[in-house]
Symmetry: C3
Subunit: 139 residues, 3 copies
């Protein structure tokens, strides 16, 4: 069995924003030299998500609006986590809504994806660099 | 290390609907010949989910009602994704709420489940055939 | 390839409550003797979750409040699952919101975590013992 580990760094332009990282994930799997296995893609932070959905500009705007409706940023005093001076309770909740990680099948040295599957990094407390861990195991 | 790949096709009767696929997952794991490992079960589409919950008719109806309350289908103009003529923005959001994938422990050649764990395929933009990927790795 | 399986038992004090199980997960990975691989951590019950987030007291209170706002326990007749005498439909829904499982990279014999990543067991129909399965595969 082979294993491979890589960290990638992303920084969003906005507090809540999404970056399509499909190419970087494909590249990491190529670098791993693993042809059959599983790849884990997850932020090493607790206010961000990696997930798979469609790369369509309107939809990405919908994610932002929806996540803030379900777990509002304001009023800040809605959440106990913010009582100590933090302002990102909503980001911890949004991360639960959108999920932490994706596990991707590796087949023939590539991510085994359908036509519309694209990997996103979503940050809910962004505008600063955060790392995503890719771990691939297999043969 | 061994690996095994299989695609299954499902088609729901209703736009939002759920199919219990536990037997098909068990069969795929048997076919794999893998006795100890991990199995990934995920749709290769971005408006569907694979998840584990209880197989109870009332609950499955609750999933439909709940998902549509949290990410409503209508009014269609609630979501930017629908501006280009699509009508399934809600299905992309419901898929985030319900999750994309399950990772299942394989022990003694079987899914390592508790009494009530059943695997579901949920489609939020259904009434057409979609594929689920099962990838098993182990020994 | 090596594999390792362990069950842990947890019981929450309250109906909805969260227990930080990071140390037990670290210990299980140590016991496995696996230095490079993947670990699955998942309850074998369908009204509980394992997830990764920040260990901050206020945030944990926010999880309880938020989950009950998104999938209310009462009125019980809101959900069809409760018509047969059950009272835990909300717990099945909360488990979808918070997620079932985490998959953790194992690197150098340890969970490959960022500074703030802590593993939680969340029960949404608690006050009784439930089991969490840890399955580690790798080398």
């Amino acid at each position: 069995m082979k294993s491979f580990r890589k960290e990638l760094t992303f920084e969003t332009d906005k507090r809540i924003d999404f970056i399509n990282i499909t190419e970087q994930v494909e590249e990491a799997i190529r670098e791993s030299g693993i042809t059959e296995g599983l790849a884990l893609v997850a932020p090493i932070h607790v206010t961000a998500s990696c997930f798979i959905n469609d790369s369509e500009k309107g939809l990405v705007a919908d994610f932002t609006k929806w996540a803030d409706k379900i777990a509002p940023h304001e009023p800040l005093n809605l959440w106990k986590h913010n009582e100590g001076g933090e302002e990102n309770a909503d980001a911890h909740l949004k991360r639960q809504l959108m999920g932490r990680e994706v596990v991707i099948a590796v087949t023939g040295g590539k991510p085994d994806f359908g036509t519309w599957e694209q990997v996103f990094y979503g940050d809910f407390d962004g505008k600063r660099p955060k790392n995503v861990l890719i771990k691939v195991i297999g043969e």
